[in-house]
Symmetry: C2
Subunit: 370 residues, 2 copies
Amino acid sequence: MRGREAETGSPTATDREERILGIIQTARAKRPKFRDARITMSHGAGGKATSSLIEGLLVPAFASPELERLADAGNVDVGDARLAMTTDSFVVRPLRFPGGSIGELAVNGTVNDLAMAGARPVALTLSLILEEGLEADVLAAEVQAIASAATAAGVRIVSGDTKVVERGACDQMYICTTGIGERDPRAVLSPSALRPDDVLLVSGRIGEHGTAIMLARGEFELGADIGSDTRSLWPAVDGLLAAAGPQLRCLRDATRGGVASVLNELARASGVAMLIREAAVPVHPAVAGASEILGIDPMHVANEGVLVAAVAPEGAQAALEALRAAPGGEQAAVIGSVKTDPPGMVLVETAFGGRRVLDQLVGDPLPRIC
Amino acid sequence: MRGREAETGSPTATDREERILGIIQTARAKRPKFRDARITMSHGAGGKATSSLIEGLLVPAFASPELERLADAGNVDVGDARLAMTTDSFVVRPLRFPGGSIGELAVNGTVNDLAMAGARPVALTLSLILEEGLEADVLAAEVQAIASAATAAGVRIVSGDTKVVERGACDQMYICTTGIGERDPRAVLSPSALRPDDVLLVSGRIGEHGTAIMLARGEFELGADIGSDTRSLWPAVDGLLAAAGPQLRCLRDATRGGVASVLNELARASGVAMLIREAAVPVHPAVAGASEILGIDPMHVANEGVLVAAVAPEGAQAALEALRAAPGGEQAAVIGSVKTDPPGMVLVETAFGGRRVLDQLVGDPLPRIC
């Protein structure tokens, strides 16, 4: 605990704080258990309940080393081909929102999971669940959005499926996209690879997708002009690999549960602590304002085009420059660094010099955001 | 039209019949258009409306040669790996039924689409859409069913996703599975490869899955003991490839829309006619009975473990033996053959010696069967 002692003031406050952190830490070292009797919205929110469902029920059932890694994509080797494969269902409501739509999200979300695995996206499949009575024009618009996003991301749609369910059963449409990509040999990434002194970066301003969805739902009065950040992150990853490939530890796109969930997952997987400087995190003032009104932290708000990168110190500057050079990356920033203690914990240094624990999301303040 | 003239009686009847067939045939040669203002249940039924949605809206939008093939799986080549990739959403109601459940279906259905492409199934992804309030036990049972079916089919689950939607928004659960497989070099299959005199086989008794679902819904009174035929068809395909690889023209699993839809699609894609001997089609008496009560043809009822194979005449006997040797293949049978005229049409020779046109399904007599 040397690192922290050097940074804190009163030994008494530190002792008490450390006992509390010790308790939290012991609880976290255990694999989450799934003990709920019923599924709640929070199981889909990307926070603690989601982790308990995935790590407590799904991963043990399939006894798959690829699932155990809890990565955004699974590795599959076929012959000489080193592939990554990932799937996502999209149930966002409303279907269209400032800056994007479910179709665009369905392509970029899956492409980004491949990119986070260091894999160049190659092909997608598309499975549509349509509600009886859906207007053909609404469907045609999403099909067009999917086609355009796929072209922009450089992936081909190679297979598809369509199901129709009765009126009232799926809220217009759900889309499941699955992607395969080719793992880039420059990428040696793992959520357990983080080491003390590694540098933590984000590729852009955070919280804009979730905020755009909230505004589109008209759930609170705010005239802000915030659009979703949905975009393919492969160009950013490609740039990172070129600039700092051997120094990259791990990449994660900060979707459900936001940047806070990503940081917590990585801290836990690597058994390290993190210290984030709140003032360094790029947030649009309107996103900060909306979050304050709702009483949530922008670090918990979903993004669809922002990644978190953990980089060895010697690669940090090159990584930052690569992110800034990528489309939409002008606001990329170093937001903090990896520490030794307390393992599994993410601490935030606030603008006023205080520190607080940044936890995973509990419950679901904003369901159906992707 | 020589082939048919030789088989029919009165020249007058033949002339009139041929004029009518000519009209149908011209209509069929055109690509289906999607002109509906709204989605109806029939767009998900696997029949004509589904074809119009897929071929009239989806395939043109994505401008993808792989989709143009309208195969069960798309081909993707990555480096030296010759892959097939396919996706399916499962929305079956009820979740459990005699002989299977949604989880088992979700694995076998996707594995079978790979098998039909002549690809050995390698890996699956799993995307769950869960309804708020779903009982954890119900979920755990399906997770177990998925795990068991994956083990039985020899595939690994390599990546997953979970979304939760509000109560009432998805009827307990929907499952989307996507699979990749390695194309077997022995398989040179295409829906447009059928030639006159090719032999048509089915791998088992037809219509049992759809009938089991009907019985499980209690929609009509019948004490029949019919279970779903859900199973992996890769062992049957592997056997076919070993016994008659070079003679195999095309394989299709006869899911939504039944054997009739498969035959019509192949007849249209290859520009050939088919003559099916009704008496040769293996049907369990209880399935025949249930179909008669409902006024539908067992040839239109869904299967989840039956394939249709088109084989060059010299490979037919070996193919039949291979199918009979595969698990669940005891009832495999030759059901008819490929003819020249009228192109795109499937004719059935009834038990009484008459002939009728066997068309694709129109509308959806049985929604949500997979």
